[in-house]
Amino acid sequence: MTYATNEPHLVVCVKVVPKPEEVRVDPQSRRLDRAGARSEINPPDLNAVEFALQIKDRFGGKVSILSMGPPFFEPYLRICLAMGADHVYLLSDRLFGGADTLATTYTLAQAVRRLEPVDLVLCGEESSDGATGQVPPGLAEWLGYQQITLVNDIEMDMSRRTVRGRRERQGGYEILEVPLPAVISVKTGCNEPRFWDYRLKPWAFAPERVTVWSASDMDVDPEFIGLAGSPTQVVGLEQAPSRERKRIMLSGSPQEVAQQLAARLREVLPLVP
């Protein structure tokens, strides 16, 4: 066995999202107004990048950042390079636009195929814009990879070619092991992403660090990408009620207040008796 086979190729799926509190629904057009919103790397994705870099610290190998989105994602994705990742692949094409989970996972999977051999694909738990958490299993299905979702700790064994993930369960935890290649989704906040390294920054911003693939650069079936490949349709958008704290004061005897609190808890917690 050569040393090189022990060096994993890790792919991290990263998305750039608008800061949630700055997104508005235009009351007239009923469309999403994210023009004024600042963007950031989807915070859970940074937890996934950190895990990939920890694996790289230990085993060496290569960390590829994979993202699908408009060209403005690019400078954000380069921050992952300044954290220690090796290369960015940005899937950018108008034809990819309007993709739902099915089309997104298909497109990402086709890119992963192109990047193979791949040992591990890491994703954040969910994106703050869509918040569905359905990309990791969908991706695993397209690729025929194993999956472990919502892990807060991972351990790779490159000689046995397995990965173990610990995930919290109601009142405890479990450790699952699957053979590589696998898709892992990482629980939000389970590690502290390292800050970007100023020494890597100039390197990270060199043009050749980012490869942009359009649909024609990839082996994709046009029927499966973008709006065309998306079975779901958005039929309406509304601004949700304000997320400001309600600041409602409850009053009464301890027993009365307790009844009111119990009722509130039942509203927000499914498991409360």
């Binding site: 700055e22 600042r38 950031e40 940074l46 992403p193 800050f195 100023y198 020494r199």
Partner: protein, 386 residues
């Protein structure tokens, strides 16, 4: 038997440190005044922060993964009497900088830098909420053709509910003095003090340069800052990056308003108070008198000094990035400082820094002194106007 510690000397490390401190670290001749003066000696019996030996190790290029490098609060107590003029806090920051490069950083600190990066503040607060502190007040957006001065609120006064009261008091005072001022609202840049204190200097430089640029684009020639930390950054570091504006702490600005007769205190504030010099206003920027003159101009207010004040004032413990690190219960300078204040028998411990307020308010509760109030100079001054 004597235990001998084996140390590895690393010339490259020494070279780096020498370069980053512009040679200053070489000045130390190991007299030990710094260790004797360091406030950590007052809270850590038997295991003070040995500034002297840390400097010696640094001079030898001994790799230092010592947790002690994160203790320094940058209070400048040691620097004030160092016979060789060693900028000790800067040496500590350089050592921290090396720790960042070697990824030996206490938990929680990368998140502080990320917060500045994504949120433009070190407190993980949404950037779009930055100007909420001013809700209900008339605070215009800065316009160079109309305004004489930019009020630089700063991250802590913008988001910390306690410190917001100081910012609101200041607005009241500016209005009373007829000051033509504006703020940059949500666009106000972070000063980068946290990044500097935590030793991530290259990023700090980026932040200050960016801030200077934002000020230039907005035609800012003069700014007044709430926090001595922001003030220190803008006064002492921004000029290194071709910044073309003047920075003042608000106590200096109000003091001038008083002397020029723009601001007048007419209401009695019958309180007995003592003033605590924030390190970044006093020792770091030599401003001891402006806050005292403001307090002394308030009718009915009686001011007394604590046993150690001005150059000798004890640090609150919040500088040097310590606001973002945990200090164990028995080791907080602020507890001692509250005792200092209690010894004078005052009703109010006054200061002029949001970090000092946070530390003191916590310590007032910890030492069980519910009758001692912690206030900002601006809050007392605002009580004195109609």
């Amino acid at each position: 038997m004597t235990q001998v510690e084996h140390l590895t000397v690393d010339d490259a490390r020494w070279d780096t440190l020498f370069e980053r401190t512009r040679g200053a670290v070489a000045l130390c001749y190991q007299c030990g005044v710094c260790t004797a003066l360091c406030p950590w000696g007052q809270v850590r019996e038997g295991k003070p922060l040995s500034v002297r030996s840390l400097l010696r190790r640094a001079q030898l290029g001994v790799p230092d993964d010592h947790e002690d490098i994160w203790l320094c609060t940058a209070c400048a107590q040691c620097e004030s009497l160092c016979p060789r003029g060693v900028p000790v806090a800067e040496v500590f920051q350089s050592l921290r900088g090396m720790a960042w490069e070697e990824r030996r950083v206490p938990k929680g600190l990368p998140s502080v830098l990320w917060s500045i990066y994504w949120n433009n503040n070190p407190w993980s607060q949404p950037p779009s909420h930055r100007s909420r502190w001013a809700k209900g007040l008339e605070v215009p957006r800065f316009d160079p053709s109309e305004h004489e001065v930019l009020y630089y609120v700063g991250c802590t006064a913008a988001y910390d509910r306690r410190a917001q009261k100081v910012a609101r008091a200041l607005v009241k005072l500016f209005q009373a003095a007829g000051v033509r001022f504006g703020t940059l609202g949500d666009e106000e840049p972070c000063c980068g003090d946290a990044a500097k204190s935590l030793g991530y200097t290259p990023y700090f430089e980026e932040i200050v340069q960016n801030a200077a640029q934002v000020f230039a684009q907005n035609g800012v020639r003069r700014l007044v800052a709430t926090s001595p930390h922001c003030f220190d950054t803008f006064r002492n570091y921004a000029p290194r990056y071709q910044a073309d504006f003047e920075a003042e702490h608000y106590t200096q600005f109000l003091d001038r308003c008083l002397s020029e007769g723009r601001l007048r205190f007419s209401r009695e504030v019958p309180l007995r108070v003592t003033f605590h010099d924030p390190c970044f206003l006093g020792r770091r920027n030599d401003e001891y008198e402006a806050p005292r003159r403001i307090l002394d101009a308030i009718p009915g207010l009686e001011r007394v000094e604590m046993a150690r004040s001005r150059q000798d004032a004890l640090c609150c413990g919040g500088g040097g990035g310590r606001m973002w690190m945990e200090t164990s219960a028995g080791e907080r300078f602020a507890n001692l400082r509250v005792q200092d204040a209690l010894a004078t028998g005052v009703q109010v411990l006054v200061t002029a820094c949001p970090f000092c307020i946070a530390c003191f308010e916590e310590s007032v509760k910890a030492v069980g002194a519910p009758n001692l109030r912690v206030m900002d100079v601006a809050e007392l001054a605002a009580m004195a106007i109609e």
